[in-house]
Symmetry: C2
Subunit: 698 residues, 2 copies
């Protein structure tokens, strides 16, 4: 395997230049065209020019201030403790090669160590300070993502379901054991045949009024609980989602009350053997996250006490009567799932953490790595190439944008947990769905781009892109498949759209629609459509207007199409016929939110110099996005051809300017070398190669 085997690029260019030495004598028109292709008279020191130009364009970055502004409030506190703990315990660090079974055991030791030695009490923070909990999740994810996910299973899912779907009796009984890892548990929702469509699950929980128990049953192979984290090896309990079946006194004999959650002990507390009627199998190797022991569960008439129903939203009395504060199955189902939104918040936030690590490694190595250069001059760094800037600089900008947007999500989530404000609940639901889907898809793609950007050395396992990608990959699927989540965002937007026209209140996140919808209803302004000055293009108002115009237009047009198609295809068919359109709408909306939060963050930055740096990065984020959708803007003449060209040109220029401060921008993420770990991505880039040769044994 070789990483090369071609003529050099400089050769390429030399040949190209040489090939225009002769003078062609053809028609006038052709001659004029040929002029473009004349030989260069003298070498122009292209590389030097580049460097000089770079020096001129380089913005001064106040690293200390920028770094302070970027540090979350738990960076010095609990995140540093986590980093220090693992840094001081080499035996708890995951080696590059480790078997699945060893990895699972190591991951368990990492988690118990964290709780019992490092003094972290995750379940407390879940209740008292969710932001602190998410900060730990992010930090442990950078140690080993398997640990992050195992912790999420234990605390967000198993712990979260007991806390949020249960009542006081459950908290009293399970809180301590979950928090101190004496009760490792699972969250058994997904079945072999039903992932996204949770209402389609088939596991049964039938009430037996004689013994005052529920009987948990897996009616067929398709209903086997599948992918259940913590189940294959470590779990003692599982929150099992099943249809609650109650006996009735009519001819039918039973009544299906819809999906409810039940605490089911799955292994003996002393012997750790599977309990009678519980069959546990191993889901085996996964693409990544092999430190998490995913298992499959089949239940054969497993009896649990009535008290094990997590009865916050619906309860069964001793005599088998059902009571609930919520009137319908659908409302109860929505309330039940609504409580689990924290998982998505955590994934969106952790995904940004993964993106930061990848971007740090790729940018530092691209500054270090030199390849080719102008004739008879030193080679230049690969980040000096336009194509490389094009790959990585919008990614740096997006990482900043996502950072601010997910911090905002954390804030409103924490606030919602405190106030239970209804508007906030709606906001958090839609924004967590949208950001989780958008950010994890973006990060997944970026991990591949970063690997490629680092060439052969990016393929060395020690440089981490492989494990980051494999571990992160499933972020796009679990806790809500991204395609399904984006449809929820689109559904919400359509609801808001309707409310606007009925004069109702819009929740905060969508408030902009009121304004931009009106501007959409007007035709695009042919004068501003031609404005191409840098001041105008870098005006946050222009940028935000453009983003929101796009969202509004997509929203209005999809509403029209849905209505049209529903007449012949029905609601479901119409929705499906417009599905691509709806997904684009949802993404466009999320991009609008990210930009708005980014602009806010720029404007709120107290340090003037850092504000200027952030403004530069934010402009790149905005214009790069507009350029990527330029077809849409052109199609409706929102942007005239001259403006389109100006946007393109400015985007390339901003890429170049951001490149000049790229090192500072990634350093400001403030992740120490022993966290990023890749030899090619060290902060002191000059040490990278020697670390790397040492690693190979030289």
């Amino acid at each position: 395997m070789e990483c090369s085997q071609q003529s050099t690029t400089s050769n390429q260019m030399a040949e190209y230049e040489a090939s225009y030495d002769d003078n062609a004598t053809v028609s006038r028109r052709i001659e004029r065209l040929s002029l473009h292709l004349n030989p260069m008279e003298k070498p122009h020191n292209g590389g030097l020019d580049l460097v000089q130009c770079a020096a001129r364009a380089k913005m001064k970055v106040n690293m200390e201030q920028l770094s302070i502004y970027m540090r979350g409030k738990y960076r010095d506190d609990v995140q540093q403790s986590v980093y220090d703990y693992f840094n001081s315990k080499p035996e708890l660090q995951t080696p590059i090669e480790i078997s699945k079974d060893e990895h699972r055991e190591l991951c368990m030791r990492q988690l118990t160590g964290l709780v019992r030695e490092c003094g972290v009490r995750p379940l407390r923070y879940v209740v008292e300070d969710p932001s602190k909990y998410f900060a730990i999740l992010e930090a442990v994810g950078s140690v080993d993502m398997s640990l992050g996910i195992k912790m999420g299973v234990q605390y967000s899912l198993w712990g979260g379901s007991v806390l949020n779907l249960g009542t006081k009796k459950h908290r009293d009984k399970y809180f301590e054991g979950i928090d101190n890892m004496e009760y490792p548990g699972c969250f058994a929702m997904t079945e072999l045949h039903h992932g996204s469509n949770v209402q389609g699950i088939q596991t049964l929980a039938t009430f037996d009024p004689i013994t005052d128990e529920f009987i948990i049953d897996t009616p067929n192979d398709g209903a086997i609980k599948w992918w259940i984290g913590n189940a294959a090896v470590h779990g003692k309990f599982a929150t099992v989602f099943a249809k609650l079946i109650l006996p009735t006194h009519d001819t039918k004999g039973t009544s299906d009350m819809g999906v409810h959650a039940f605490i089911v002990p799955i292994r003996d507390m002393n012997t750790h053997k599977a309990l009678p009627g519980v069959e546990i199998q191993d889901c085996g190797h996964k693409v990544g996250l092999n430190g998490v022991d995913n298992g499959a569960l089949r239940f054969r008439s497993v009896r649990i006490p009535r008290d094990n129903l997590l009865n916050r939203f619906g309860d069964v009395s001793r005599d088998g009567k059902y009571t609930s504060s919520l009137p319908t199955i659908n409302k109860r189902f929505a309330a039940t799932l609504g409580e689990l939104v924290g998982g998505r918040v955590g994934l969106a936030y952790s995904s940004v953490g993964v993106l930061k690590i990848a971007v740090i490694i790729a940018v530092r190595y691209s500054l270090l790595r030199q390849q080719f250069g102008p004739p008879k001059q030193p080679e230049i760094s690969i980040l000096d190439y336009q194509s490389h800037q094009h790959k990585l600089m919008p990614m740096v900008a997006s990482t900043y944008g996502f950072h601010f947007a997910t911090l905002h999500l954390l804030d409103i989530y924490s606030e919602m947990k405190k106030t239970h404000d209804e508007q906030l609940v709606g906001d958090v639901h839609a924004l967590s769905a949208g950001l989780k889907a958008y950010v994890t898809s973006y990060t997944a793609k970026s991990l591949s781009i970063c690997r490629e950007a680092c060439g052969g050395h990016g393929y060395a396992a020690v440089n981490r892109f492989g494990s980051l990608r494999n571990d992160h990959d499933i972020f796009q699927t679990f806790e809500g498949d991204n395609t399904v989540l984006l449809q929820q965002v689109a559904g919400d937007l359509l609801k808001q759209y309707k409310e606007k026209f009925q004069g109702g209140t819009l929740t905060v996140t969508w408030n902009y629609l009121r304004e931009s919808m009106n501007s959409y209803l007007a035709q695009p302004n042919p004068v501003t459509a031609r404005w191409e000055g840098e001041d105008h293009l870098r005006d946050p108002k222009f940028q935000l207007d453009a983003f929101r115009y796009r969202t509004s237009r997509l929203l209005q047009s999809v509403a029209f199409r849905l209505n049209k198609h529903s007449k012949t295809l029905g609601g479901f068919g119409a929705w499906n016929r417009c599905l691509n359109h709806l997904l684009t709408l949802a993404e466009s909306h999320i991009e609008s939110v990210i930009l708005a939060k980014f602009i806010d963050a720029v404007q709120s930055c107290p340090d003037e110099s850092s504000r200027a740096t952030l403004k530069l990065v934010c402009d790149l984020y905005a214009l790069d996005r507009i350029w990527k959708d330029i077809g849409t803007y052109r199609n409706v003449d929102y942007v005239a051809p001259n403006k389109a060209k100006a946007i393109h040109k400015l985007t390339e220029h901003l890429c170049f300017q951001v490149k000049n401060v790229a090192k500072e921008l990634v350093d400001a993420f403030d992740l120490p070398d022993y966290v990023t770990r890749a030899p090619i991505g060290m902060q002191a880039t000059e040490e990278a190669y020697s670390l790397y040769t040492q690693y190979a044994g030289f």
Copy 2:
């Protein structure tokens, strides 16, 4: 870890529909808009409609004929032998979990078994029938891609360098040993500091006229040979690329003759110990391909006989005089690297093989998997969703296009090896660079999309997306980094462009430029720009014209820009300033070639029914590509807004039609279940789930 946790989509839609129950009384305009949002009066059996509509639109596919047309000439012959051999040897099949060291040994046993037991003689085919060699490479790649790459190292690289860069004495001495695996060897070109820029390598080969030997030296750590396949464990020899240094009688004392290749024994034939002066280290774990033992080599004054210079393009006499049939260092370098083009041909072809496996698995599972559906009706398959069709159907179409394009590449490569026709050499060089870059990038992205499309079950290692992606990933980097290769394509196009205006001959591949350049020089026709009929849009002439127009336009405009910028930035700076533009140009050209070959293949298909099927797939390929670049076409009014809309609509419709024959289209790739292997991707899809539960131990 859970694969779900959200309200259902049907819920989403139900809510959306319900939310429009009330009548709003606002302004007339708003009322009119609100009409779009009215509730659906009756359920319309949307799902049923979908199914009925599907039945109506379903094309009849003649599976036997299509399959015959798609089978390469070696499918029944040597590929089937390879499949049968490994199918009959369970001990030679790579398990899901295997340590790096065991994998390397297994891979070696697989390769020697293939050569010594299965009767395959790869080096013979390299010489006598390259297409047969590439067919084997594709087949073994589907067994384990590590094996494919290890075989490529041994035969394409180590064997190929001896055959193509050496002379008769080398062939006589090494041919048999290489062919029968007694001489496992390496190809030591890449160094720690130099991958793409091969001319920058620093290893030295200094001639010692006293002993009639070359002295091979690694002058610094940056010159350590890195990523050398077969080096860490198995290799006995290496073709080492080094600067040839000859003594002179002037004051300088030595003269650098440029990069040459030398055969260097690295391990003792009997003891297998590293030879004196050869330091070998292990490059360690990689993201994938861990069955290949990549190592690093440092040479400390290693002496080799003068005969070990591979002297086809340059030789040194007993008294240290240099002779060559080629006049300059650059020409010799180009000739040397030019001989190694076969590696790229093989990669492009094998990459299509990987893409086929992934597409087969993803399509079959997406037909099997059901999730959600219209209210009170059975769930529908996920491939019935527009978004899912949008992900996978253009991918099926591209796979067909790439299949025909790479077969064409194999043909012209074989022809070139026979005739050494100069025009063909140029064609093969550019087309292999372009297709290798384009296809491997596309496949890499598609592997991620396929994993996501299969949700949680796509994340099970047994379903193969993880290993396919990890193994294939480096295809984008080795044998020429894709970004560098595309620049070579762009460079060639610019050369051809100039020749057109000088009346010279164009090589076959670019011949279309003569025609389309002229049409570009004219303004787009405002009448045809508005044509939107299906017949017109599905006319291959319209499609090919559109592709070529785009290429021509990009070519003309980049030539103009290069000329402009070279005045201030010099050649190198100008090239870099236009780099994104140049890469887009190269991709656009390759797409034009793929479409042309696709259209040829459709028209040459002897069976009428299969021709119609292929035409449908080809139309989707063409229109999907045009739609993806619609901004470009709109910007210059090549396509008017109404036509853009018609293209979009037709593309979605074609996705739907291709979906209706998707199973037949992937079945026609004719890969047996024991080759594709993923339980979720079995040909008899109904068995998939039960295979999968068995696999987990139920």
